[in-house]
Each structure stands twice: as C-alpha cells, then as structure tokens.
C-alpha cells in the first residue's frame, strides 16, 4: 500500500506552511533572494540603511501579530452585534441628511464592479472612459436636479460642499461675511465655522421663528453669501424668494442647500434663483453607512465656472474623432495652480457619484417622482397620526415635505431610548444634532424630535411607530 503512494510523494515534496497568515504579498523566499541579490543586498533591512538609526524602530510596531481573514471576521462580528441600531433590528425613522432609501440589488452590483471600485482618478482618459462617462452622466443629473448648468464631479459630503460654496462666494466678490440661515443642517454650520478659522470668514447665523428664517433679525449688509436650506433641517419648506431678494439687493451669492430627493418634485435651486446648489447625495444609492462615505453635490451658474472646486468632466473627441470624455478646466486645480487653486480637493467621492448615476438610471423620471411623493405621503401620514397623541405637538406650523419636528412633553433623547426598546429608531433628538442650544429652536430644544419617513416605510411600521411613541411619551 505504501509503495503505491510513493510516486505522488515525490511529485509533491514536503510542504510546510510557515504561517497561517497570508498577507497578499506574492514574494516567495526565492523571489526575495533573487531581487535582493540583483540589488547587491542580502537583507531587506539593507533597503532602509540610509534612514538614520536614531529614528528607526528597533522593535516592531506594538500591535498584535497578523490574523487570518476568518479570525478578523470574528472580531468584526463582535462590533456588528453591539450595533443595536442596524436597520434589521430597528426600523429607521431618522434622517437629517442620512436616509434609509431603497437600494436595489442591481445598483449594489453595478456599483461594486471592481473596474469602478479599484480604479483611481481618471488621469489617463484612454483607459478611463468608464468612470469619465459615468461622471458625465452624474453631472447631467445633478445639473437637472439643481436647475443649474454646471455640476462638478463630486465633493466629500453636503457639509464640505457648503464650505466650498462659501469659498466660491468670497472668491467671486472678495467679501467674507457669510449669512447662513440656522435652518441649514447644524453639522453643516459647525463645519462652516471650523473652516472659517482658516479663511477668516465671518459666519452670521440667522435665527428661525416658527421654523422659518427670520432674515430681518440680522444685518445682511456686506454679505458675501446668503445661505438657505430647502427644506430646512427641521423639514420646513420656506419661501426662498425672501433670501433671493436679499442676495440680489446686497449683490451676494445665493447658496442653497437642498434635499436632492425633494428636488424630484419641488422647485429647483435654479428656479429659486440660486447661484450655487449644494446637497447631500447619500439618498442616491449609498447606504446609511454610519455617515460615510457620502456624496457632496455641487452645482452653480455658468459665470462661476472658473471658481469651481474639484474636478469636472467634459466631452471632447479623440485623435480618431470618436466621442471621448476627459477631466477639464484643470487650471483651477491644486496640482497645477497650487496655493492659488480654487480648492485643495484632490480625491473626491467618485464611486458614490457613479453609484448615484446608476441609482438615478434605475429610478428614471417616474421613479424619482414616486420616491419623493411616497416620502411626503408617509411623512404627512405619520405626522397627522402622531399629533393625535397627548403630549405631542408640531414644533412648527409651516408646511413640510418629508421630515418634520415634533415637540414632546419630555426629553427627546429619553423618548428615543424607550422607543428603541420597541424596535424603532424613532428619529433624532434635535439637541443632539445642534450640541445644545441653537438659534434654530427658541426654547426647550431638548424636547424636540426630528422624524423622517422614506418610501421604504409601510403603513404597518408607521402605525407601530405611533403606538411606540405614545407609550414612550406617556408612560
């Protein structure tokens, strides 16, 4: 019997795996010897001999040794188990720029094609037409949704897109006073304040009264930009003609942050007269993903194009006269203009932009309208039902679209905690978003709850929500 297997033993000589850890490196021991020999070296350490010994590590990094993929997966399973807020456990009624929309299998699959996922910035257009054309199509839909002719190839997220819009405004008119409605998402305003430390922008936040920007309460003179949000972060649909006329009379840029899903049926930024549109593009095919990567939408009027931040793709022809796409107007960008660039953005969120183009291709004209309409229908249905509960009132009497604020008779954070026990992520506590008192809500901000409904929420889920809210507020 033994003799029968001998030839095979010769064919497969002794195999001893050195380690259970495979770390994606192709080099065999023989490869290493050959390559080092070619360089006249006998150890890998020699490659680093020119680094001063005084700063070199003598021991390795103080980290655990490598583990196999299945072992690391066990560690991550512990993290995922501790995330009680995952959508399969808690039905999501939270929004504030991060929405639980339908992302179909076809969008997930196309958006995870490795040609899109593992490419980089299309510096060589001859082999990057896939990403370039997808961005061109993305720019087209962002332009149409914003009602503005020029859209860039994406920015990090809505908040940083706002910062770029402010920089565009000060570049356009040389002024630094930014008058921002406090209806703009609190995080966006916080980010704007952070970056104003460097640019020296003077951020003036305008209070809301009954959920509506009280523009008359601040001095707008000398403003570089007038910034509003549509709907505002409390969900309210404000009459933007007030902001537009202020911008016009003070020769400031009108910057509008808008919900791109609502843009499917509401007036566009362009129709309201905005010079710049910024938005959070997460609703177009990107999962909640604990806040990132998301997608910064940016569009503007033609006369701002030389100040456009980030990349833009343009159509042209190749040397054989075939339609081609290429990144263009590159002279604005940091790698060419350096300290005089319009922005420091290099890497953006291309994969999310490509995904948005796919998602909007899936939705089409009617699908986007349907999603927007169903969000509004669900939100109004839930709001009407919730307002029947003792201890729940509307935080604003104004019209809203897909999100709204409720004033409770008790602390919203506590209510959310109770609701979670009944399988519902009941919204967001406004005071958690603002980090305390804020000019957007006059008093009792800790009792205000922000609620959203997407097209994925059923009547049954909404009715359950109302039961759970009633119990949480009144028990």
């Amino acid at each position: 019997m033994v003799a029968k297997f001998l030839p095979r033993l010769f064919l497969f000589p002794s195999y001893e795996r050195q380690s259970d850890v495979a770390d994606y490196l192709p080099h065999t021991t023989e490869d290493l010897e050959e390559m080092l020999g070619f360089l006249g070296m006998d150890s890998l350490e020699q490659l680093f001999a020119h680094i001063p010994a005084a700063v070199r590590l003598t021991q390795g990094l103080d980290l655990e040794p490598g583990q196999t993929e299945p072992d690391v997966a066990e560690v991550f399973a512990r993290y995922t188990r501790a995330n009680k807020a995952q959508a399969t456990n808690l039905t999501c009624f939270a929004g504030a720029g991060a929405y639980d929309h339908e992302v179909p299998a076809v969008v997930k699959m196309l958006g995870s094609r490795s040609e899109f996922v593992t490419a980089y910035t299309p510096y060589q257009p001859e082999v990057a037409q896939g990403v370039l054309q997808a961005i061109f199509e993305y720019q087209t839909v962002v332009s149409r949704l914003s009602g503005l002719p020029i859209a860039n190839a994406s920015l990090y997220d809505g908040a940083t897109a706002l910062v770029e819009a402010l920089n565009m405004a000060s570049g356009a008119n040389g002024r630094s006073k930014m008058v921002i409605s406090s209806g703009v998402h609190p995080h966006w305003r916080q980010v704007a304040r952070t970056f104003a430390r460097g640019t020296g922008h003077d951020i003036v936040e305008v209070p809301l009264v009954d959920g509506v920007t009280n523009w008359g309460s601040v001095d707008v003179s000398g403003a570089s930009a007038i910034v509003a949000s549509y709907p505002n972060y409390l969900g309210v649909l404000e009459d933007l003609s007030v902001a537009k006329s202020l911008a016009t009379s003070h020769d400031a840029l009108f910057v509008l942050g808008a919900d791109p899903v609502a843009a499917g049926v509401l007036k566009t930024a362009g129709q309201w007269g905005a010079d710049v549109f910024v938005g959070e593009g997460q609703p177009f095919g990107t999962p909640l993903a604990f806040g990132g990567p998301y997608l910064g939408l940016f569009a503007c009027t033609l006369d701002q194009i030389r100040r456009l931040p980030g990349r833009i793709v343009g159509e042209t022809v190749d040397s054989n006269d075939r339609r081609s796409f290429v990144t263009t107007l590159r002279a604005r960008e940091q790698d060419i203009r350096r300290e005089k660039a319009t922005s420091n953005v290099c890497t953006n969120q291309t994969l999310m932009a490509v995904t948005a183009a796919i998602q909007l291709g899936w939705l089409g004209t009617n699908g986007l309208r349907e999603v927007a309409t169903r969000c509004a229908q669900g939100a109004h249905f839930l709001c009407d039902e919730a307002l029947k509960i003792d201890g729940v009132t509307a935080a604003s009497s104004q019209p809203f679209f897909r999100e709204f604020a409720l004033r409770l008779t008790r602390n919203a954070t506590e209510v959310l905690s109770r609701m979670a026990g009944d399988g519902v992520l009941g919204g967001l506590a406004v005071s958690a978003l603002t980090g305390g008192d804020d000019v957007s809500v006059h008093s009792g901000i800790e009792n205000v709850l922000l609620v959203t409904v997407t097209e994925r929420r059923t009547r049954e889920q909404i009715e359950h929500y109302v039961d759970v809210l009633r119990k949480a507020v009144n028990s």
Binding site: Y156, R197, V265, G292
Partner: protein, 504 residues
C-alpha cells in the same frame, strides 16, 4: 527569472479594447421604460397637491433617463469594460499607491451590522461602531507614534487642512497665530492649496542636488513668523529625508510645528514612525497605506494624528472609552470643531482596520519592505532605459526620467506613459514632481510579483526601442485602447459637461 511563471499583473489580454462609443444613458432612454420597483407600503396615496403648497412645486418634470433594468446593466457593464483598474492589471501610478485591495475588507464593509447603521443613532445603540473607531484611532497612533487622532477628514487633502487648522489653533492658544508655512518645492499641490485655506502664506524651500530639503535654505527661511513646515517623508521623489532630525530641531527651535503628509506612509510602516522623527501632526491616506479601494477617485479617508500637546484641539465629537466600559462621544476641550458632516468616511475606516488586523505589526512591516524592494528592483532594472532622476536607494517609488528619449528621439515622458497603456499596464504618474525633467514616477507597490515587474520592465524596453525605430508612431500611442489621445484643449475651450450642454 527563476521560474517559468507568467505575470499576474499584465492586462494585455483583457477585453478593454472595444472601439465603439458607448452611448450615454440619456441616448438610450425611451419614454415609458422603467426599472424601479418600490415597496408596497399601504400608506394613503394622498395627492401631492394636498401635501405641498403649489408655490413650492416644480411646474416642470425633471427628465431622467428611462431604461429597462437590462439596458441599465448593459450600459454600466460596458462602461466598466472601458475602464482600467487594479483588479485588471498593475497600476504603477506613483504617489497614488494603487496596490491590490483585499476583497475581505470590502466584505467587512458590506455587513449590514456596519453599513445599515444611521450615523445619528444614540451612542448606546452604536457601541460596536464606537469601539471600532476607538480601536482604529489607537492603532493608527501606534503606527505613527502619536498620541491621539481624528478620523473625520474624508481624504488626504481634508486631513491636510484639518492639520493646518490644528496648527493655527495651537499657535493662537499661545497668543501667536504666525504667518507662514514652509513647503519643499517637491510637495504635492494639495499642500500649498491647503496652506492658503488654512490662512497661511506659503514659503517654498528648494531641494538640494540630492533631491532632499536644502537644510541651509530651510534655516534661512525660518523665523518667529513660521507656523510650521509640511513634509512628505519619504518625499515625492521617493527619497527619505535623511536630515529629518536636523530639520525637526531647526523648526522646533523657532517654535514651529512639523506636519507630516502621510501620502507616502506606506513606505515606512514598522520601520520608522513620524512621531519618532519629531513630527507634531500627521495625516494618513488610508486608501493608500491601508489599501482601501480608490473608487475611481474616491472615497478616501484622511485621519489626522497629533502629539499630546495638540490633542485638545482635535475635531469632535470623537468616539472615546467612557467610564464603566461603555463607549461614548466626546469633544476635546479646545476642539476646532467638526470637519465632516458626520464621523468621517466610516466604511473606509472599517476596511482599513480590517486590513491592519489581518496584517498585524509584522505584516505591516513586510508591506513596507516589499514595496521598497519592488521599487528599487524596478529602478535598478530600468537604469539603462529610463535612468532615475536621483540614482540611489529609493523608498516605495522611483522617479525616472525620459529626458534622454526626448533629447535623442523627441519622445516625451507622456508618450512612454501612453504607450504603456497598449502594453496592458497603467501609466506611471507623469510630470510630477515638477522639479524633474520628463518625470515618470513609478510606484509598483508590494502586491505585484517579480514576474509582473519583469514584464513591466520588458514593456518599457520595447517602448524605448520603438522610440528609436518609429518615434512618430509612439507620439500617437495608444491606439488599441477604448479611445486614443483626446483633445483636451477642445474640452476646455468648448465646455460640454452635461448631456444638455451637448444638445442631445
């Protein structure tokens, strides 16, 4: 070559060679076709006219493409076939670190336990995410030799600006905002652009004949108005700044801070740490160093780690270990504030942590060693064809020059880069750094095999031979790619950036 194995990283056989133009999705659109399917909700279908006042309604319908799911799949699949990627073949694009992205890390990020979590959910409901973020921060601090970090910046450039705002906050807290930031002439363009946005002026420091910071010029530029210096080490020439200790001492002596641009951190993992070199602020490009996919130009992630004296200024809120074992959000006492709408590019952060855990301290060191070995092998292998701008041991990338091909045959670095596309490899970075004539910056990365490197070198030798035999043809390369060289001037002169501008 030791074995008869063929290269795994050459894409010349890939079907990326279709010559027909792919129509835009709008050109395929047929009114009445659709692909979407939504949940049956049972929610009352109240008319929008009753819900939204008419003055807010768009009187027009916004037209999107109307296609079937089959056509949608066909379109984006064909577009993907017109796109080079790391998964297809070697992508030695210098400075961008286009290494293989482990699929395991993508699978980690696809888990609904991570990616279906709302970022605004109360801390008690997202304990797993908070622990993950705290763990990543701690490991990044070990790797860089720093004290604390923010994970919020969404990309390297965002990290740079965050770091400069930290520098400003630190100086302002000392009652001394300062005016200037020093940058070597070899720096990435994001550095000077970030300095301007940080409210500082740029002072450019020349490189010496060895391609390193000219220490005397640096000392001459230093003064009490200098807030700090931004350095990439190894620098963009792929060379280690050997006088880093002297640089650090000189900058610290005038009260300035050292900023480490982590674009090239992958070269020194486990070998030397920015903190030990004297750096005060470090940004990392997780998509480069820790191999998260580049997504065609993002998303990235650009965490910033700092030394203890800067920790109180970090952006917030940040995940921290609370008392009693629970994790919580807290904001450092003198925080500059938020730099991202939520918590940063969380899914990229999760992938990076998985990559770090698979490799461990030992594996990360091998990553750096093998990356440096590959770059040096390629530099030495091509020494007669494309000599290195600075011919000595480099780090993870080598800057070669096509200046001899240009002077002898009129073939430029760009022509070599374009011809390489026909050979089944992505181009190197061209014309950067700016201080090298006809620069071709190759970063082979550690995940390409010896066979692939040899194949790449042979392709470059063939191109060099073509430069002698038929330079004119080379100036028209590539021809076998989905499109040939494009008219960039026309794109800029007559901007068509949307289907509507195209008038279709």
């Amino acid at each position: 070559m030791r074995s008869q194995a063929l290269p795994g990283g050459r894409a010349a056989s890939a079907p990326i060679l279709g010559h027909d133009t792919e129509p835009t999705i709008f050109e395929m659109s047929v009114a009445g076709r659709s692909a979407f399917q939504l949940r049956t909700t049972g929610v009352p279908a109240t008319s929008l006219d009753e819900l939204v006042p008419s003055e807010h309604r768009n009187p027009e319908v916004i037209a999107l493409a109307e296609v079937s799911e089959r056509d949608l799949v066909g379109h984006f699949t064909r577009l993907s076939h017109r796109q080079f990627s790391v998964d297809l073949g070697a992508y030695p694009l210098g400075s961008c670190t286009m290494k293989y992205n482990p699929k395991f890390c993508d699978a980690i990020a696809a888990d609904p336990g991570l990616n279906s979590v709302h970022p605004g959910a109360p801390a008690e409901l997202v304990q797993g995410w908070l622990e993950l973020l705290v763990t990543l921060e701690e490991k990044l601090c070990v790797i860089t030799g720093m004290s604390a970090a923010t994970l919020q910046p969404a990309a390297g450039a965002a990290g740079e600006l965050t770091g400069l705002l930290l520098m400003r906050a630190y100086h302002e807290a000392n009652g001394d905002a300062r005016k200037r930031v020093l940058i070597p002439d070899s720096a990435h363009g994001t550095n000077p652009a970030s300095v301007t946005l940080g409210g500082y002026e740029v002072t450019t420091i020349p490189s010496n004949e060895r391609g390193l910071v000219d220490l005397e010029a640096l000392k001459a530029a230093l003064g009490p108005d200098v807030a700090g210096i931004m350095l990439t080490n190894p620098n963009t020439l792929g060379l280690f700044e050997e006088e880093i200790t002297e640089i650090a001492t000189a900058v610290h002596d005038v009260g300035g801070l050292l900023y480490y641009d982590g674009a090239n951190l992958n070269a020194i993992l486990g070998v030397v740490r920015p903190g030990d070199m004297g750096f005060d602020i470090v940004h990392m490009n997780l998509h480069k160093t820790f191999a998260t996919p580049h997504g065609g130009g993002g998303p990235g992630a650009g965490p910033v780690a700092v030394s203890a004296r800067l920790a109180d200024f970090l952006p917030g809120p940040k995940a921290t270990r609370g008392v009693g074992g629970a994790f919580e959000w807290s904001t450092p006492s003198s925080s500059i504030g938020r730099v991202h709408g939520w918590h940063g590019n969380a899914m990229v952060l999760a992938r990076a942590l998985a990559y770090i855990d698979v490799h461990g301290g030992d594996g990360l060191k091998r990553v750096a060693q093998h990356a440096v070995l590959n770059a040096n092998w390629l530099r030495h292998r091509l020494r007669d064809t494309l000599p290195a701008a600075y011919d000595r041991v480099c780090m993870h990338e080598c800057v070669l020059s096509a200046s001899n091909l240009k002077s002898k045959y009129g073939v430029r670095g760009l022509d070599v880069a374009k011809a390489l596309l026909e050979e089944g490899f992505h181009s190197p970075t061209v014309y950067f750094p700016l201080i090298v004539d006809e620069a071709l910056m190759f970063e082979p990365t550690e995940t390409e095999s010896l066979q692939t490197l040899e194949s790449l070198a042979e392709a470059i030798e063939r191109i060099a031979q073509r430069a002698i035999d038929d330079p004119e043809a080379l100036r028209h390369a590539p021809q076998s790619t989905p499109v040939s060289r494009v008219d960039e001037a026309r794109a800029a002169r007559h901007l068509i950036s949307t289907e509507d501008a195209a008038g279709r």
